[in-house]
Amino acid sequence: MTATPAPRDDGVVDVLIVGAGPAGLSAATALKRLGVGSVVVVERETEAGGVPRHCGHPPFGMREFSRVLTGPAYARRLAARALEAGVTLKLGATVVGIERGESLVATLTDDGGLFRIEARRIVLATGVRERTRAQRLASGDRPIGVLNTGALQAYAYLQHLAPFRRPVIVGTELVALSSLLTCRSVGAKPVAMIEENAGPTVRRPFMALPRLLGVPVRYGAHIVDIRGKPRVERVSIRTADGSVEDIACDGVLFTGRFIPESSLARRIGLVVDPGTRGPSIDQFGRTSDPRVFAAGNLLRPVETAGWSWDEGRRVAGFVADDLKGRLPSADGATAIEPGRGVRYIVPQRLAPGGGGLDRLQLRVSAAAKGRLVARRNGAALASVALSAQPERRVLFPAAGLAAGPGPVVVGVEPLSRVTGC
């Protein structure tokens, strides 16, 4: 067997950004605009832009370009803007590892084989993906035609192919609704939309879309069998009353239930938060290695492109400060922990001295009304009124929480219990 060829050396850069999605591209652009010398974005796909590359639908770009764009147009603009700002883009280059010794050295592969880039700081912006059929442990055969929305979009907008004609759509997050439009664009007609819960994940008015398109929606539906060979032929669902019903179809689209693409973060030994499943960060986006930052949907499931873009830009500011030695030490950070009814919180830690992202982002685990309260040792520090659904953005002011010893727990409380703030 031939030995592993020695990697080429691609020099030293100030900041290496992994992932050319909205977060990575905006971080890179901002870094150049802040006067940072060499900024390289590496992207494993041969085209920049991340997920929006294959979201053929609007609305993208309001925040960034003050106009409504389709995903691909938005992706192209983000990339053009980064190049204009002087960012170096390396496409078709996959980061396979990062050594975190005295210096940070990334190992990559592209068509030329292995190469290494040493960087003073690294920003991970590797995005999210959807939970697969396997991860959901859905029963049945494993035929052709079972996929996630990301793959459907790539079929439709990158390859101009249809993966199926009459799919069942699983889920009612926004991405499920977008998939109805994507199906339309390739001439596929979904036969049903099914949802585990008793109601939709999106706000009710959105459910006008399936109605308009004539796609029946079934709530409280659990998949008990997927059948077909070689391609999907039918799905059996158990409905709320316990009866089992067959739906003839030629595909199953598992939508949403996002998880951060944190495999690189894990592989290089960064602490990964079991709540978000992304790297654990402080308010400056610093991971458990303070030289490695993270931004965008890698941080949590899931936000919009615009939000990820904004986050990339803001984390870039912190990276630039750090390069000038102006960030406070990452040591002695206060842990911020999810309490009752809270699925996750990001940032997971606040370094002393304030600054950085000024709001905690969290999600509730079930629909909740009341107050969201931050407590240290039982004493309330801050609280806000709460009326939230799972998968919807909830924000909480971070100011002041870091002052004092011991972790802060943020949880949902009924109105009556809240005292002292």
Binding site: M1, A134, A138, G150, Y155, Q159, A162
Partner: protein, 459 residues
């Protein structure tokens, strides 16, 4: 005289090794396979453990074939670029009752010639596997149990058979046939074929083939399903040694084991069923497997599931292999290769060639065989992505390159379906299960498969 000396029915693990052995011995081989590709039956899904035979029935043909197969695999693997992930295995006792059973297992191992086994105390277990639950009381270490790539070897064997003249026909279900006293005429989905002798390696259909061609079956296949869950590669650093349970009457039990591809799998279940085709996964069983895995290695609770799958063991109403010859009908059946066929296949092939010789057949063995190599898919050895000129990465999770896919599609035995491409390259088998690459694979394979990925093509 028939055009072929032997017709091997079935390109599973056993049929592929058989085709290679007969071709190397100079026989003119015809291999007929119902599926669109090799390993379309029982052999597509298993635990991928190369067994020592430490717990096999003493003195059995199965044990002899396993040990011969194991030895031959080690002997030829370098020449064919086939991996061996050296893990060793521990039979772990989790209760006093299981602990009491270890003596018997150790005795059996020694009787079977597996002399390097030794006992590990609870603290030795912990030292070796710090992430294993502290509930492990004692174990029997079997250093020779290892992990292989469950697919590439059989591709390599077929490539070698083909290089020595074997005719390999896919989509060729054997539907009927007749023996004229000298040879067989087989009626298949791909037309008629003639061969002097038949070697029935039809796995889950071995009894049906006997009934179809001989009029009656000497055994009955009773499919036994095994479900698995595969953990993300992050799990590979949590456990190195294969963790085997103390077996019970019916099965070897649930195993926790690294894969050659850098993951950790838990399984299989053992579920009897009538159906010979459907190997479904079921949520409840998968949840139970995951719970079992987490009970063994608690840190697995934080690791994602990458894949779930199931396979059907071609078990019969008896425990052992069902190998028999009918010299007067130029017939050999190799059936009931239930749960050790991956290991034993090369040994079974050599054994069966011996039986064939006893039927009076002689050929001129190939003096200087060619040794085709296959692409390495094992994570612990050099993969294509680390070498220049690979194009780009198509499947990001498994780091499968454009060049690897092109080579598989253009190779001497191109895949006949998407499953075949996955088994040759691992494309689409990683944590995102095609989120990133499925559409690109549809484009790269357009026009190649009877069952295409894109529905436009199907229409």
């Amino acid at each position: 005289m028939p055009a072929s000396d032997v017709a091997i029915i079935g390109a599973g693990a056993v049929g592929c090794a058989m085709a290679r052995r007969f071709a190397l011995e100079g026989a003119r081989v015809l291999l007929l396979e119902k599926g669109a590709d090799l390993l379309s039956g029982a052999s597509k899904a298993n635990s991928a453990i190369l067994h020592t035979g430490f717990d096999a029935p003493a003195g059995s043909v199965e044990l002899a074939c396993m040990q011969a197969g194991y030895a031959e695999y080690l002997e030829i693997r370098d020449r064919m670029n086939l991996p061996l992930l050296k893990t060793g295995a521990m039979v772990v006792a989790w209760s006093d009752a299981e602990r009491a059973a270890l003596d018997g297992i150790e005795d059996r191992a020694r009787t079977n010639g597996v002399g390097d086994v030794r006992r590990l105390t609870a603290s030795e277990i912990r030292e070796r596997e710090p992430n294993l639950s502290h509930g492990a009381l004692e174990a029997l270490l079997v250093p020779g149990e290892h992990v292989i790539d469950p697919w590439s070897p059989f591709l390599a064997y077929l490539l070698q058979a083909k290089a020595h003249g074997a005719e390999i026909v896919f989509d060729a279900e054997v539907l009927g046939g007749a023996f004229d006293g000298d040879g067989w005429t087989l009626r298949t989905a791909k037309g008629e074929f003639h061969a002097r002798t038949i070697v029935n390696c039809a796995g889950l259909y071995g009894d049906r083939i006997e009934r179809t061609l001989l009029g009656e079956a000497s055994f009955e296949i009773r499919p036994r399903k095994g479900q698995f869950a595969v953990f993300d590669k992050a799990a590979a650093e949590l456990i190195r040694t294969i963790v085997l349970p103390v077996p019970n009457e019916r099965t070897k039990g649930v195993v926790l084991c690294r894969t050659a591809f850098g993951n950790v799998l838990v399984g299989p279940t053992a579920e009897e069923q009538e159906d010979r085709e459907r190997a479904t996964v079921e949520e409840d069983a998968l949840v139970a497997l995951l719970d079992r895995a987490i009970a063994m290695v608690p840190a697995l609770a934080d690791v994602d599931v990458t894949a779930v799958y199931a396979g059907l063991r071609p078990a019969s109403e008896e425990k052992g292999y069902r190998i028999r010859t009918l010299p007067e009908r130029n017939w050999i059946t190799v059936g009931g290769i239930r749960s050790t066929g991956l290991t034993a296949s090369l040994g079974i092939a050599a054994h069966v060639f011996g039986l064939y010789g006893e039927m009076g057949r002689r050929h001129q063995p190939i003096a200087d065989p060619v040794w085709p190599t296959v692409a390495n898919l094992a994570e612990h050895r050099l993969r294509d992505w680390a070498r220049p000129g690979h194009g780009d990465i198509v499947c990001h999770c498994e780091l499968v390159t454009q060049r690897e896919i092109a080579q598989a599609l253009e190779g001497p035995l191109p895949p006949g379906d998407f499953g075949g491409l996955k088994r040759r390259t691992r494309a689409g088998m990683g944590r995102c299960q095609g989120f990133n690459c499925n559409a690109r694979l549809a484009e790269m394979t357009a026009g190649r498969f009877a069952a295409p990925l894109a529905a436009d093509e199907a229409a």
